[in-house]
Amino acid sequence: MAKRSQFVLAAVIVLSLFLSACTAPPPVAAPAAQQEAAPAQQEAAPVPAVQGEPVGVGGDATGVKYEMKPSLYGGNPITLQLWDWHTPRVEYWEQKVKDYTKMYPNVTFEITQIPGEEYWTKLVAALPAGQGPDIYHFHNSNHTVYIENNMIEPFPVELFDPGYLKANWIGFEEGHFMDSEGKIRYIPYGSMAALVYVNQRMWDEAGLTEADYPKTWDEMIEIGKKLTKYDAAGNIDIAGMDFNGYIEYLFNDMNFQQGRYMYTKDGKACQVDTPEGRNSWNTLQRVYDEKISSPEFLGWLEAFGTEKTAMTWAWTWFSGYMRSTYPEIGFFTLPMPGFKGTELPSSGRQNYEVSLVVSPAKDLERRKVSWDFLHWLYSNDETLVDLALTHDVVPAYKKLWTNERVQAYQTIAQLATTIEFKVFPGEFPSTVDSALRQYIGQNFVSGIGIDQAMTEAQQACDQAMQEKSYWTVERTYLHNDAMIPNQP
């Protein structure tokens, strides 16, 4: 074969196989003004408005009471597109839109579930082009990108009263859901943080009682020893406490507990290699040294569900996971132990589960219907409780913490008592997440020393932070005065 032909053949093979997967269609800008001016959706010929039964009206959780309208969209048929990635929530939306469309039969919804990873890439492709859903579920890890690029319409103050939200909902006082102009871009329906999960049977079999609930890490290690079981060769058969696979998050929580923030004040670097960071590492190392767990042991997720560990540490979504995956295993939760046995300066990190948002790319009349749906949804107490309990989060509407259903759910009731001591750091970029997993979590397991681990983790985390500008708000923590003063 001639040299030129070989080259051409090779080029065709390589290009076809490789580059076709690395390309994306060019973004097409959809000017907002053009969208505003676009005529209302002409989906079908107008039909007379048929007023349905009022369902779930009268809620005022957003500070503005929801009143049923005589009609929406002029009574013309309209189908709103709603996107979400989370199965239980999609199932819940399917129920809720049935209720809503009973009131407004001319409104229908097309709910699309898109798997996690794909969800954000599809949104990124669709929204700037003026396509995609009318309403989509948001996650605050994308705060900067979506707000900077105007892919979320600000919440209308006539439906969501900022003053009321600030006084009655978590996070508003600290400005956690606003853009730089103070406009609300999304609201939380709850907040999640970590608790200690305990296998009820193992706890009882070890003869432990409420008096043994550990308040400090030292006590936790002692309890762990009592719960650990070994095989004939001396290997751990059942760990007292296993957190393999989640070490980096526990490391962060421990740093907060000692009053050390995660990032520097300017948000350009991490605070990993600090005296508190080293103390966290050494405390975690003790769990291995005391043979309560081992680096070779199972990951915490597999271990707790298969009763290979008596205790683990997890964010509260884990309750739902246990209920659905291992319903036969009884467990209870305990607050996070600390270094001092008190909640201050902090008991760890928290993150919000946030709301549906409205795409600004759709025309005004469609957006009005979307906003009405969101107002109806989030002004209703029972809906907010449903959402919180379905997703194992503390309701964001503080009034609901005393709700009977919330109080009856041990995990959430417990988390509610400590949520004010949790720090919300702002965006937790996946690159930082990955850097900490690689250099804290996996370094632990790979058995390298503290000096190398700290140096590498600090370096990797800094690099991740410097690559882009992230939204960090941890210094807005309500108990900031209890944290270490004068941190960089």
């Binding site: 074969m1 040299k3 070989q6 080259f7 090779a10 080029a11 093979i13 390589v14 290009l15 076809s16 196989l17 490789f18 580059l19 076709s20 997967a21 690395c22 390309t23 994306a24 269609p25 060019p26 973004p27 800008a29 990873e117 954000w120 890439t121 990124v124 492709a125 929204l127 700037p128 990108v145 979506y146 900077e148 690029n149 892919m151 290997n235 751990i236 081992s294 680096p295 070779e296 042991f297 199972l298 970029p429 996946s430 690159t431 990955s434 997993r437 690689q438 250099y439 979590g441 996996q442 370094n443 397991v445 790979s446 058995g447 590498e456 690099q463 690559e467 882009k468």
Partner: protein, 318 residues
């Protein structure tokens, strides 16, 4: 023999008729190729050119305006990206090990299967099964096999080396969390997964070798090794070149096993080039930079594939 003479008019008419027939044939060929050509142009050609152009921009798909940065993305990759060298080494390491080992193993297995008097189809199907299984599914299963404390591989090592041979070793080998073992562990899975596909290619090559060559060589007194060395290997060279070329391209593009089994860890020791590119594009939305990485990788692959064609340029006619 009767010679016939045609008048110039007749010859002209014949020539014109040939030209029309040829034009018709060409038209048919063009018509047949057109849909594929359009498909490639729309889905490969244009996006590729667009990607190349955008590799010179600070391309964020969410922004309406894109800033021209010249060769900035390429310079950043080659001079400032702290992970660039690491992921390049990882990818090269993966390719250099998995491609030749996979090729040799597949060749050995193909020769063995081909020599079976019966059940060739059965064995071919057995070896091919991992190929048709999802790479995500197999990666998850292998992650479990590699689990340090309860994984099957370490359990077997414990049974054989500790329980039976009483060797004083710790059988809890951290396959996927050790900096030195993680990449070989992923490679082993990949070789296993790809073995069946390469084997089938070699089997096809083996069955196309005429048996008369072997018979003639045997009459001349050739042994098994000589048959393999002087007939099988040379006649399989086109297959080998194909396997090597696609193997190198595939190796340089590896992504899924690491994504599922190690997430690129520990300490980025198993993070391949495409994983890095993916992170830049889909977690940081730096499409322009990711495009420049794609073209750098393209250039590297092109270089090696071209080199390979040059090195293995041999006459295959016998």
């Amino acid at each position: 023999m009767i010679a016939t003479r045609r008048s110039p008019a007749q010859a002209g008419a014949k020539s014109q008729s040939n030209r029309i027939r040829l034009a018709g044939q060409r038209g048919m060929i063009a018509l047949a190729v057109l849909p594929l050509a359009v498909f490639y142009l729309v889905w490969v050609g244009i996006p590729m050119i667009y990607t190349f152009i955008m590799s010179f921009y600070d391309w964020n798909p969410l922004s309406v305006t894109q800033t021209f940065v010249g060769a900035g993305n390429y310079l950043e990759a080659l001079t400032r990206d702290p992970l660039f060298k690491r992921v390049l080494i990882n990818t090269a390491y993966y390719t250099v090990v998995t491609v030749p080992i996979g090729l040799i193993l597949a060749l050995v297995v193909a020769v063995m299967v081909n020599s079976l008097p019966r059940f060739i189809g059965l064995f071919r199907a057995i070896y091919f099964l991992p190929v048709v299984t999802s790479v995500v599914a197999t990666s998850i299963i292998w992650r479990w096999l590699y689990q340090s404390r309860f994984g099957l591989i370490n359990q077997l090592i414990g049974m054989v080396l500790v329980d039976t041979l009483h060797l004083p070793i710790n059988p809890s080998i951290p396959w996927l969390t050790s900096r030195t073992l993680a990449m070989p562990a992923v490679m082993a899975m990949s070789i296993w997964k790809g073995l069946g596909f390469t084997m089938v290619l070699f089997l096809a090559g083996l069955t196309s070798i005429p048996s008369v060559y072997y018979e003639a060589a045997k009459i001349d007194g050739a042994g098994v090794w000589q048959l393999f060395r002087h007939i099988t290997i040379p006649l399989l060279q086109p297959t080998m070149i194909f396997v090597l070329a696609t193997g190198i391209i595939g190796g340089m593009q590896v992504f899924a096993p690491m994504y599922v089994m190690t997430q690129g860890g520990p300490a980025n020791m198993t993070k391949p080039f495409v994983y890095h590119l993916y992170e830049k594009a889909f977690t940081l939305y730096r499409f322009g930079y990711a495009s420049s990485l794609a073209f750098i990788l393209f250039a590297i692959i092109m270089f090696f594939v071209f080199l390979q064609f040059q090195v293995m340029k041999t006459r295959w006619e016998y």
